[in-house]
Symmetry: C2
């Protein structure tokens, strides 16, 4: 998608996905682990690790999100991703959450998140959901004739 | 991809993927379960079922493939997919393999394959491989700037 059609959070997500790709994580944007909860980026590592990354483009964007602790139970590690000029001192990093600084083109893991491994049944269910969602989205892109 | 750039087997694969999508299976083409073995279509069902489909466009195409029994250990069900004018009597359907008749646009399951469930460890490993491959391919299509 051309850069100027992306919203600020989506531009950060693009940089985050490029960063995580370089760490051998496969990323999917806008994943819904359960009804009413949407995560900006879900990433799957080579051993099946599941990371969730929430992208916040500005202080206001962050302050309007009161549900972030709900994300923790859907991943092994949770990160905030913010642009370089974000006032990162307002983020609850250090309560287990990690920090990624990213722009449109890439980023850096500034603080590694703590790990709280998912229970086996939930990891299995999330891996399957991720697999099917990724394949269905890929299918829709490569076969525009798909109904 | 425009129709006329697809090889005959890829056109059948497209129809197969559309068919299986209608059965709520998410499809990925050209999956390599292990080095040296490539399956035309791998499909993942809502309960994590893994189906493998080999597409054969002609008698010669089928007769050049001596490795099909090697596919069985990578799926719960195995199908041949052939065009309507294929001499399907030459296929070893009924030895557990199923039969799909497909063209460029869709298809039909003519004979349901027998089920031989994967062992848990292999299913887990294949689901993870499928998930990461689908997400990486999707990423490459939606972010052409990805290196």
């Amino acid at each position: 998608m051309p850069d100027d059609l992306l919203l600020p959070g989506q531009r950060i997500a693009r940089g985050v996905c490029r960063l995580l790709r370089s760490h051998d994580f496969a990323c999917l944007e806008e994943v819904v682990p359960k009804p009413g909860l949407r995560v900006d980026v879900m990433a799957m590592g080579p051993k099946g690790e599941i990371w969730v990354i929430e992208c916040k483009s500005s202080r206001a964007d962050y302050q309007s999100d009161r549900k972030w602790q709900g994300y923790l139970e859907w991943c092994d590690r949770f990160f905030w991703a913010v642009p370089p000029d974000f006032p990162s001192e307002i983020l609850p990093v250090g309560e287990g959450a990690g920090l990624i600084v990213a722009d449109d083109y890439g980023g850096e893991i500034v603080t590694m998140a703590g790990e709280v491994p998912l229970a086996g049944a939930r990891r299995k269910a999330m891996t399957l959901k991720f697999a099917r969602m990724a394949a269905l989205r890929h299918h829709a892109l490569r076969d525009p004739g798909l109904l």
